[in-house]
Amino acid sequence: MLQQTQKSLPRGDRSDPQAILALADISKTFPGVKALSGVSLSLYPGKVTALVGENGAGKSTVVKILTGIYQPDGGSILVDGVPAPFPTPQAAADQGVTAIHQETVLFDELSVAENIFLGHAPRNSWGLIDRKKTTEKARALLSSIGAALDPELRLKDLGIANKHLVAIARALSIEARVVIMDEPTAALSQKEIEELYELVESLKAQGRAILFISHKFDEIFRIADNYTVFRDGQLIGDGAIADVSEAELVKMMVGRDVSQIFPEREPSAGDPVLTVEGYAHPTEFDDISFTLRKGEILGFYGLVGAGRSEFMQSLFGITRPSAGSVEVGGRKVSIRSPADAVDNGIVYVPEDRGKQGAVLDLPIFQNITLPSLGRISRGGFLRLAEEFRLAREYTERLDLRAASLDTHVGNLSGGNQQKVVIAKWLATQPRVIILDEPTKGVDIGSKAAVHEFMAELAAQGLAVIMVSSEIPEVLGMSDRVIVMREGRIVAELTDTELQPETLVRHAAGI
């Protein structure tokens, strides 16, 4: 069971009259799991409160309690200091609580205006939805947050950043007093993040309370006023951000000291492993040429939509290029499917690991051996002993702790699922590993572990391609960085050229 050592924790100002919304002594238990034990959280008008914690700390559960999706087992929710249970999501919305999720929960087939006013659209005298008024009000709202979006566009035609703007406009349209932002910047480029910060400032100025959930410390220190730290479902600390240092926050979060320094590496440029020449696609990218060497970490930086992932998917055989050639180890190869890529020692760990990574209904060992089925079978029949040996070897190598290899991956925590996905690819004994946003949505403790691990892979002679939108990560990990913009390589940077400003300048084309 969880240790109950943190009994006398700071409780926050739960009786403080100025908190718009507060949780007092909230507990929540799921079958076999204590998700939250006696946590408190206060949100004040005009203040941004950062909720910090590792994966599995209970952040998502808190969000679901605040939005009426889950009911707490104990404790109370206070609105303006008065107890107000949220038995349904509608009750939470009625109290002015709204959440902007990691993956926006909007409707692709509806227009921007319809999305903003869904459920509370202006009516005409017949009681029907007044389309004209809806569009006009949506336009006014969007321009009030500085978004030049056509309200009549279909939502599915927008990028992720614009979808966030629509979600925020929706929050404003229902007169939200409390806005919960669950990792809003995870999928945004640097420029879009800046715009989001400005928006948060304007929400603050309007006196709304904001709960900001993020893994990125620079972001927390930039926009948050208060912080609350959870660990393993318990409140570890809270207070004003001005009174705390980054190191202290990290320590509270993980319960131990974590160096945020990137692993020291001896860059060793070995023989070329992968040479790509003139790769092109009719719409996504053009004229991509580069060479990757043994033991090297090559960073791919660019804004969202620069064509990096699209190129990697093509290199991995998911989509076909219209022109170009690939050499692996000096031998020209033709990659027409992911199976060809794996056979040639190229593996791709996709960005969307939930969707593209693991088969949740299959046990751990079957997930790990999935791309290696050819190697562990003879004549189409699986050799189970061989399969278990392979799975055990790589779970041990990645320090994956689970009750048994038979455990279904869907029952593992996010961090362990990630380990399964990486183990699966390493088990194919690749020569080139492509990591697409390897630490996106990963908490800081696991992040350092992923970075360590990348360095280790490179040291073992693997060639690593890292697609990342996080500048510190790109600079901290890469030996060399290729910057892409609008589907083309615009710069290849090494040594002293590896500066944040240089990267941003090339990526944005200024």
Binding site: I318, Q356, D361, S377, F381, L384
Partner: protein, 327 residues
């Protein structure tokens, strides 16, 4: 491990089947006599064969509505071949049935794989086409018992160690496909392609090809069943096994096969088919109108799906590491 065994869908289904048998035997003790149970199993064998194929198809997030029509077309073709060439050995007849069924299944599979048409549309179309073809080749006429050769009719009834060949074929198929699903790369590919098509693609497994093979297997089993069906009932016409595809899908769903793909076992399909088979055979003997049978199978489907949905709902909620792992 024991806990998991107790909670597994197959175990629950076995318990449900036993309860059903106890309930029936309380009103009609003769029902659970070994010879009668063997009869019920033999009677359910065609459903078992088709449910195995359907289970694999559903596993890959598809559905095969054309199985009964495939069965009827193959049945008509082999009975016409038998009328024209009565001396043809049964081995050849079996070869024709399985071969034709396989080809019909491959047509479904190719349409789903290469043209990316949703399987429900493809098989709804081929279902109608297959029935139409039967009418065309038979001119709407029946092939009757007296036209079929004695050997043709005798094969599924021939007894081997006390059980008819039809039953043995079902048992054999259960064993073969249990091995295929758990011990071969193809079986693993079915689970991966249905469980998470994106992840399967990235792992080098072609989802479309897996679906093609699923339809091919389903077609082959439907073809085999086609011969067994017409020879057992000693008649062949356009409408045989009409609507039987719904029983087959029902057997899968009752057997815990997830209609969302990725979850299902041969044992589940077998038990689902047996459950329906017992109901179908028991209702007449306990003197309940056969019309109730439809309502009862319908109720069983809904209960099974509701139970499965409940089981799945629990899964998504594990937020922290499991308590025992923390300790």
């Amino acid at each position: 491990m024991l806990k998991r065994l107790i909670a597994s869908r197959e175990t629950l289904l076995i318990v449900a089947i036993l309860l059903l048998l106890i309930l029936i035997s309380s009103r009609f003790p003769g029902f659970i006599a070994p010879s009668n149970l063997a009869n019920v199993f033999n009677d359910t064998s065609p459903l078992i064969l088709l449910a195995i194929g359907q289970m694999i198809v559903i596993l890959t997030r598809c559905i095969d509505l054309s199985v009964a029509a495939n069965l009827a077309l193959t049945g008509m073709v082999v009975s016409m071949v038998n009328v024209a060439l009565p001396g043809l050995p049964i081995a050849v007849i079996l070869g024709i049935a399985i071969g034709l069924g396989t080809i019909l299944g491959m047509i479904n599979g190719l349409l789903v794989w290469k043209l990316q048409i949703p399987s429900i549309v493809v098989t709804l179309g081929t279902m109608t086409i297959f029935r139409g073809v039967i009418f065309l080749i038979s001119d709407g006429k029946w092939v009757n018992s007296h036209e079929m050769s004695p050997a043709f009719k005798a094969f599924p009834r021939a007894e081997l160690l006390g059980l008819p060949v039809l039953s043995w074929i079902a048992i054999f198929a259960v064993i073969v496909f249990t091995v295929v699903m758990t011990r071969t790369t193809l079986g693993r590919a079915f689970y991966a392609a249905g469980g998470n098509p994106h992840a399967a693609t990235y792992a080098g497994i072609s989802v479309g090809r897996s679906q093609f093979w699923a339809f091919t297997i389903s077609g082959a089993l439907a073809g085999l069943t086609g011969y067994l069906w017409v020879s057992r009932f000693a008649v062949s016409y356009v409408d045989i096994a009409g609507g039987f595809e719904l029983d087959v899908v029902a057997a899968c769903v009752i057997g815990g096969v997830s209609i969302m793909g990725g979850i299902g076992t041969v044992a589940g399909a077998l038990l689902g088919a047996l459950f329906l088979g017992i109901i179908k055979n028991a209702l007449p003997v306990v003197d309940i109108s056969p019309f109730w049978q439809l309502a009862i199978s319908g109720g069983a489907i809904i209960i099974a799906v509701a139970l499965n949905a409940q089981a799945n709902r629990k899964k998504g909620r594990i937020i922290l590491k499991r308590a025992e792992q923390i300790r």
